[in-house]
Amino acid sequence: MKSIVVGSLESSDCLITISPHHTLEIVIESPVYQSFGKQIESVIQNILNAFSLTHVKVYCQDKGALDYTIEARLITAIERFKEAENES
């Protein structure tokens, strides 16, 4: 199954890539990682919990997005990911 990519690399946005994985993995790249890395990780973790996803890799290329932007991008990615899963 293919990876799903949502978002952009513009300032204040993020690019989320979600793909099937043998376990749960979250990778974050961010210019504000030192200040907000843990916060970004918990936002992603909470959404994944809400969708009960445990076997995916989420790669977040952050460009200083606020929490609601990351949430919106990730939820869209998950919805498309599930659609693709059902089609295949």
């Binding site: 300032s11 504000v32 460009k63 200083g64 606020l66």
Partner: protein, 465 residues
Amino acid sequence: MKKYTNLTKLLNDLPLKDGMNLSFHHHLRNGDGVINLVLEQIEILGYKDLLLSPSAIFPSYTGILKLLQQDRVKHITTNYLNGPVANFLAQHGKPSSLKMQTHGGRARAIIESENKIDIAFIAAPCVDHKGRVSGLYGPSACGSLGYAMEDLKHASVKILITDHYVEHLDDSQVKDVDIDAVLVLDSIGDARGIVSGTTTITSDPIGVMIAKNASKLIETLGLIKPGFTFQSGAGGVSLRVTDFLKSYMEKHNIKASYFSGGITKYHVEMLEKGLVEKLYDVQCFDLDAIQSLKRNPQHYAISANDYANPSNPNRVTKGLDIVILGATEVDINFNVNVTTDSYNTIIGGSGGHADTASDAFVSIIVSPLLKARTSVVKEHVNTITTSGKHIDCIVTERGIAINPLRQDLLEKLKHSSLDIVSIETLMERAYSYTGVPESTTYKGKPFGVVEDRDGTTIDTLHKKE
């Protein structure tokens, strides 16, 4: 004055030695060809323990980087740097290898022999056979040579390097100076890199809103009156403030006394419309400013000493009513950082920031409160460039903070409709969007200092790891 056409021959005749202090200026900005040319020869000749005093360091100044990589530079004194040299120092800099000064502070240190320059290599766009110098003519014209003047007056050996050698220049920008030698080359720079890239008026809606707030603040404080004096940087928001002032001045028929600092086409336009009497130009930011220096007698090229030397009682900055400045970070004590980002990367430096903020009657910082997820206002700045006691107002898109030390300003704003809040409130407003940042920035070993204009150390620069 001896004339050379070959750099190697010139260097053979100079009293070169290990540990010598070499100075350069940055008027050709990223298009400068002189600093790399000279330092490549110095590298070949094998000198070490060098002291370098360029007025600023741009990304293209790789000649410095090569010498640093070979551990042949003992110390660098400069006012502004970014790019590879800045990154190298922040990663590999030895203790006390960098001193960052202000434009006025550099002039003071050179004049007062605190910074003794052995040889000044001065890129000179136009030179005549008597050693008269002008920045106005030639393929590498840059306009004002403000930051090179003290080097040319006080260095032990003074060298001009030009690609436009003429019979006779009517007017020299550097007066009463004995030049030791002139080196005539095919080219001293790349004109495309000489013009600054930052001089476009902003049309970004947040930038326009900040500029509008700043102009309203200046009006409410009653600062726009006949004969007022003003300086704004060349940043897009600063220029938008200047543009708003222009409309106000036209409407109310007010003429300013002078504008100073880095000059752009927007300043020139106001001079030619009769909205301002004089321009005191220490650095031309665009071609319009260079052309204006040729045709407008009221547009003066001035030296860094005339501009901002704190020991010079007649300095231009001392008479400033208003200065508009930028900031990378501001803390709750109004200290401003324009030297590093929040993670110890050097991104610039004071230039004239501390000089003008210290002298102007009202200093105003214009900045977006939020730059992506980073709040400009925070509890502590990573590096202090300008002390908070000199910063009066912070203007953002989400409110304005006035330094409590300026009760006189707060009194005037008591009945204003402007969104005046405490600086803590500005910070809380930002954190309500971003969340509270973890203060985990690791500070590595110190490798340099930031110096205030009077020579006192105002902060320490730390390595990245």
